[in-house]
Point group: C2
Chain length 233, copies 2
Amino acid sequence: MSGDAGSYDVTHYERPSVTVDVVLFALRDQELQVLLVRRSGWPYQGYWAIPGGFVHMEESLDEAALRELEEEAGVSDVYLEQLYTFGGPDRDPRTRVITVAYMAVVSADQISLRAGSDAAEARWWSMSALPGRLAFDHAEILSYALTRLRYKLEYTAVGFQLLPEEFTLPELQTAYEIILGEKLDKANFRKKLARGNVVESTGRYRETGGRPAELYRYREDAVAEVKARRLFP
Amino acid sequence: MSGDAGSYDVTHYERPSVTVDVVLFALRDQELQVLLVRRSGWPYQGYWAIPGGFVHMEESLDEAALRELEEEAGVSDVYLEQLYTFGGPDRDPRTRVITVAYMAVVSADQISLRAGSDAAEARWWSMSALPGRLAFDHAEILSYALTRLRYKLEYTAVGFQLLPEEFTLPELQTAYEIILGEKLDKANFRKKLARGNVVESTGRYRETGGRPAELYRYREDAVAEVKARRLFP
DNA sequence: TAAATAGTGTCTCTTAGACAATATTAT
DNA sequence: ATAATATTGTCTAAGAGACACTATTTA
């Protein structure tokens, strides 16, 4: 017992397995997409699942999640956040498996398409056209992740992670609209950004067919605040 | 691998231990207090710790947390919420221990003072006068729990859990002030409550020395929304 | 000039916060 | 009446949302 009287020999108890599962989001083809892998063996053979794997004995949970991202999706340097731990006794028919769910967010240009050294089949799915049934309780995890992403979008800078380093404000707004699933008002969107003081102009412009759009980057110290509460006050 | 190709025999891997640790908050003596237990053995012998224990193989994480609460504090029927999972490889010198941290909130009248059938010494500590050093990474967990409690207070009905079933609005306001550590404006506090539509009058009054205060209870369907976002819109 | 896209101004309504006023009890 | 406490009203400033306007480019 971690916080208990402590007269136990911790090696005596039967132990569950612990995994991390990582919901990886990206904006692709003007959609919010998620990376899933196809299971080749029992249970849920042929079903699509959130990528994940065992936590090794010498690594932290965050390290395990980053390692899985690297192995299965070939991505590094991502925004990563622990979501929730799912541990129902029957969620995996093989044995007791407790999984720590993570959410990761990348921009499309960070994705290296070698889909992972594991031979497992992996592909991106649009959040609006997912497979009918996912393996294990992964539909629940995915739903939880989407809720969290939308929520975070409102008061942190996580949205910037979905775009390349430089972006125009219309691009950023479109990204927000895709994730939130609703249209936003240009003027109000910009007012909010200005108040939060999270982006700065690069001085360059992108040609668009009409009036060129100014290119922005997010401010360095705003990045540090990504995890802080109420970035937009 | 929970979501992986699945050709692994999950019994082959060395497994960490999994515990739940439960931060139990209550309002006592006009203070926010937390229940801690004193460790009797190595490691951190004599140090105070957040109550917790192993997750059994046949119970869910929530069930494990509720069982610990019952065993170590004699409380049941509490507000319980999973916080975060701490899993650094060296957080326990005995072996790899991953702990799922929970927060629980009770009203003082729910506490049965038989402090737990475990012989371990347990007592309440004021959050403003904690022991200098806690066992393991429990100071971090406690700090995380306090942050979450304050945050939740602003947009859910978790505050009601700290009071008996019937309460006056000045009592409720005082509870909020104690937890947030700041004075609130009477009128604005009541406006917020009214907008949220979370309390209803019982028609009875409590004598106070001045004008009697009306007794309220929280509305049943508001209880169901405790976990929903933005109870106060 | 027209079309397309980017960017700004402004009005209204809601809300948060500060503060003042009124109400009801006991002594 | 006075003290103590509860409860309500109001003013102001800030913010959210809706909508219209202006600006700069290409064809």
